[in-house]
């Protein structure tokens, strides 16, 4: 008996759904747009955090206690290296030069050439290119992505205008690194710290022998907290106090700076669901109002209130689900296009299973909420009033 009724509901709901073909199609399109944008916005937020999730937990970053705009003396490196449990130390300075103009931005670091690539094994560089870089003090190693974007090849000259280190600089590309997997940042431009240091000694001696961050490799990643505290205590109450944290925490710190924007994107993602809820609720309200007489007829024939409510809910859920599935299907090509259009912004841009689940749940929620008011009304209305209703 129950199954037979259920069969009726499904068939009737399906028929009802296509009575106003244009309206239903428009509604499905509206829901699909909402689900796509919800998915994209969620993916933008996820991808922002993705970079930090991927970094090795065995690496610590040591920087000045006051803030990143302060540098540390390079001699700190030797003292950190002597600490038991430390496997390797290298360092980097933000160079911040301008190539052509500010729109051609890519991150540039002055690094300790000899040790840097040992600590970053995920930067794959052919040995002969590394050797060529080590030989040429004015050489540079560039990531595959930045090289491709600017059309550079090995041997090209790259002129940079210094912002932190004044003057005009020119570097020769000696190698192009690739990431061990597609989650490695392939946009960096690496040059010799020792070269910059010597050049700056002549003009601005106060900036010489200074380091922005130390990268410390530790033997046991589980000891990260204790090692960080150990490094910081070495320099407590000195002129250059330090703050050490895991690379992941360091990167999350950067993300926290723009968290207001991320919160705004999250909020907006939920607002879009609300918008489409109003649109969908409207569609269902209109459909139900037009069919008040039919519903009264069904009730007069002996069908229960629940049957009529199920009919409305079934129609609403079917439309919402159709829109939701279409939206999820469209998300993938759109995310691909979005990623290609903003290549420099994100390392990875993947729709996660949890995003898909949220999209599906949102679609069903939209359908359920939209059916609430009409279903409630249909239960309340007396048969005579329904039969008499003017649409």
């Amino acid at each position: 008996m129950m199954t037979r009724q259920l069969g009726y509901v499904v068939r009737l709901a399906r028929k009802n759904m296509w009575r106003h073909r244009l309206r239903t199609l428009l509604t499905i399109a509206g829901i699909a747009v909402a689900i796509v944008s919800f998915g994209l916005l969620r993916t933008v937020v996820d991808s922002w955090y993705a970079g930090a999730e991927l970094s090795s937990s065995g690496r610590l970053i040591t920087r000045s206690e006051a803030s990143l705009s302060f540098s540390l003396p390079v001699t700190h490196g030797e003292r950190i290296r002597r600490l038991p449990g430390v496997e390797g130390v290298t360092w980097a300075n933000w160079f911040g030069g301008i190539y052509i103009d500010e729109k051609h931005f890519f991150p540039q670091f002055a690094v300790d050439a000899a040790s840097y690539f040992k600590l970053y094994p995920e930067f794959r560089l052919p040995p002969e290119q590394l050797a060529a870089f080590l030989r040429d003090r004015r050489g540079a190693i560039v990531g595959r992505k930045t090289a491709a974007k600017n059309g550079w090849k090995i041997g090209d000259q790259v002129p940079l205008k210094g912002t932190i280190y004044p003057g005009s600089w020119s570097f020769t590309i000696r190698g192009i690194y690739t990431g061990a997997d597609d989650k490695v940042d392939e946009s960096q431009f690496l040059l010799h710290w020792s070269y910059i240091n010597e050049a700056i000694k002549a003009v601005l001696p106060s900036m010489a022998d200074r380091v922005g961050v130390f990268v410390v490799n530790i033997q046991q990643p589980g000891q990260a907290a204790a090692m960080s505290a150990g490094i910081d205590s070495l320099f407590r109450n000195s002129l250059a106090e330090t703050r050490t944290e895991t690379q992941k925490a360091f990167q999350l710190g950067f993300i926290a700076m723009v968290d207001t924007i991320l919160v705004a994107i999250q909020t907006v993602a939920y607002v879009v669901i609300l918008i489409i809820m109003a649109v969908m609720a409207n569609t269902m309200a209109m459909a139900a109002r037009e069919r008040m007489r039919e519903y009264a007829t069904l009730k007069a024939l002996g069908f229960s209130d629940r049957f009529v409510a199920a009919l409305i809910l079934g129609e609403s859920l079917s439309i919402a689900l159709a829109g939701g599935l279409l939206g999820i299907a469209l998300s993938f090509p759109l995310a691909e296009g979005f990623f290609r259009a903003t290549r420099d912004l994100f390392l990875v841009f993947e729709i996660t299973p949890s995003t898909i689940a949220q999209q599906l749940i949102s679609a069903l929620l939209i359908g359920a909420v939209a059916a609430l008011a009409p279903a409630w009304n249909s239960r309340r209305i007396a048969i005579v009033d329904g039969l008499r209703a003017v649409t």
Binding site: L26, G30, T163, S206, M207, A278, M286
Partner: protein, 390 residues
Amino acid sequence: MSTGLSLSYVARNLIARKLTTILTASGMALVVFVFATVLMMAEGLRQTLGGTGLPSNVVIIRQGSQTEVQSTLSREQANLIATLPGLASDAAGQARLSREVLVLVNLPRKDGSGMANVVVRGTTPVGLQLRPQAKLVAGRLFRPGSSEIVVGSGMARGKIGLALGDTLSFGLRAWTVVGIFDAGHSGFDSEIWGDSGQMLQAFRRGAYSSMVVGLRDTASYGRFAEALAQQPSLKVDIKRENRFYADQSEKLADFISILGKTITVIFSIGAIIGAMITMYASVANRTREIGTLRALGFRRGNIVMAFLKEAMLLGLVAGVIGLLLASLTQMVEISTTNVQTFSEVVFGLVLTPDIVLDVLLFSILMGVLGGVLPALRASRLEIVDALRSS
């Protein structure tokens, strides 16, 4: 005189279908709300940083360094600049200039969302005179030669939440907050000010970050710039103070408005579809009524206009609701990192007449786009068929 259908006819059509009108208008109002807040946010940021500084002051930084934090100026450079013409002088005949030190200091945000990079500015009594817009609202000024600081009102409110009597430790010293100043919602409100000489000592720096000089009048900028250009050994960049800070808001403001407008465009598709559904239903429900109107002598054009007006009115209602909601957000203050200077900036959302106009036009346009197809369908109905329909 107009022979079209009256506006009250149009309005009453909307009122007749209350639930549908409310649902459609609220969907559109949410889109309008998002659009308006984005514009207000970008405007608030522009006004905050653009309203920082005076056109009669000039900021001098090292060539190519772009921000005050990255810049360094030696004592020799500073002394040479002091001798250039075009500068205002005080009663004692000294040029009005302030040698300043700028550093970024990490302070924790109160809501636990990590650390903020706050600008700490070492300034001088002349530097304070050059910024008359910064007025003390609590406590007193820092004493020159002491480890005292005054904080901007943006740092006293909101996420950083500094109060009188707090001590901050940086540069191996404890600094006491002795005053809070307000600079009329400008970028200075997000800064901490102390004594320039003390900052140099605390951070063991041999050079200043930047220099701020007062011009004799706004017009003498050209003379000063020319005199500076004749000293090629100086290697500095200059900008009027207000321009200098306005330029620093550009990237973040652009980012906010591009992201916001993209989102708005996508959302408005949803809202337009909503309006379209409503208007199609409105046409379908009134087929006979339309036939009657035509039989009475109203032309196709009159019918199109009536439905278009209905859609526009729907958009307008949504626009007004959205704007009212958005105007409430003016109470919100945002504290985030300016990507260009890497430092914390506090700003509010600002509603301007221009934004009101843009938003209303946008919401009416949404209504029109949603209404145009249904209106055309209504006008194409044949009188006889329309009258015969049930």
